[in-house]
């Protein structure tokens, strides 16, 4: 009536584990076969198989072999507490990975937009992203992301090139020796206003964050071929 004891290979096939795994489980005292033949071959009884099933169940729940050993061998063991601890850690890890996922998605998005995906481009994008995350609150970032999706990628590229022409025009005015308060310069400032409002959504908090970042991060300016004099000139023009 009782099933015959199994050899390692048979048990391995039956459970889908490897022979090495069963050896290891014995090595750490988690599952020892209840019998050995005279020649030293392991013989697993039905009870051993049942225990292995339990081990597999607990493994699928993500417990470590050490925890499983404690759970199965210590008599007064509280599983609920262990599970809750395990759960809290798992939830934390998921939250962490989701944040990471969001960052990677953003990164992939940016890289897909530009065609050159060199390592330098990657590293600079990362740098910009971490910098951005430093200056904006998570809520602001969510708002920015939402607005970016509403606007669409073509409009984003248009804005990108609009900034370039604005900088070119500004530089031309500066090299002409124009007064920052003069009419043609103020016209360019109006074009900047439109773009900035499109970016910030006229949210004053976001505009403050943007200004803080522009002031404190010299690396940001280099991106668009911005030099200190031009920066100074634009600063005057915007007042």
């Amino acid at each position: 009536m009782h099933s015959a004891p199994l050899k390692v290979g048979d048990l391995a096939r039956q459970t889908g584990l490897s022979v090495r795994t069963l050896h290891y489980y014995e090595e750490i005292g988690l599952l020892s076969p209840s019998h050995r033949t005279a020649s030293g071959h392991r013989m697993y009884s039905a009870g051993d198989v049942a225990r292995l099933q339990q081990i597999k169940s607990l493994r699928e729940l993500g417990f470590s072999l050490e925890q499983i050993t404690a759970c199965l061998d210590k008599p007064g063991f509280s599983p609920l507490q262990t599970i809750e601890l395990h759960l809290s850690r798992l939830r934390e890890q998921i939250a962490l990975e989701q944040r990471l996922c969001a960052r990677l998605e953003g990164l992939a998005h940016v890289l897909r937009a530009g065609e050159d995906v060199s390592v330098e481009q990657l590293l600079q994008t990362i740098e910009v992203m971490t910098m951005i995350e430093k200056y904006y609150t998570p809520e602001q970032l969510a708002e920015l992301k939402q607005r970016a999706e509403a606007i669409g990628p073509e409009k984003m590229r248009e804005a990108e090139s609009a900034w370039k022409t604005i900088y070119d025009d500004m530089r031309a005015e500066m090299q002409n020796g124009s007064d920052p308060k003069s009419e043609p310069v103020q016209q360019i400032v109006k074009r900047m206003r439109v773009l900035i409002d499109a970016f910030t959504g006229k949210n004053p908090e976001i505009e403050r964050s943007l200004n803080r970042m522009r002031q404190q991060e010299p690396a940001m300016r280099d991106q668009h071929g911005m030099d200190p004099e031009l920066h100074e000139f634009i600063g005057k023009a915007m007042r």
Copy 2:
């Protein structure tokens, strides 16, 4: 103008890494200090520091040290593809962990309901849960879960005890020798119907799954003190 080279301890403090980590990065050829003193002390230049910053950025994105080495040292390297691969694996892992989380939550929920949280209780609950997951499709499980939440835990416990009295009453009828088709037995069947409908939500798919499980899993019956004769009797009564 250029910053002085740093010793390991200084670099470690500056980056928040450990000295051992920096030693290790050199060991695997990821970051070697560009100079050593005559006595063998490592001296990290500003360029080394910059490279370390890049390494840190890529590490925060979850890349392995081997991937980072490849990324930084091979000239023709496509980051986008790597990131997308990384992303897909990460998303898969998150999905896996979320399923695991749901299972652990269900487990914790069941364990909190009953007061005895012994290891046997835990293992039996796991067994029942995996069995349930085998017979119902994920959509059906979601439906069941939703209904369970709508009903609330007290009603669940009421249903639990209602089942017990139904089994008791049925057993009494059986031991009285009643005909399964007789009026009092059919009254009990009606009470069963109500409970089953409450569980299945009158969804015929779910009822089919339930019947399949009841037929194929003898272990399920033992839970409520069900024996083969009683099972047989109830089967006749329900036709």
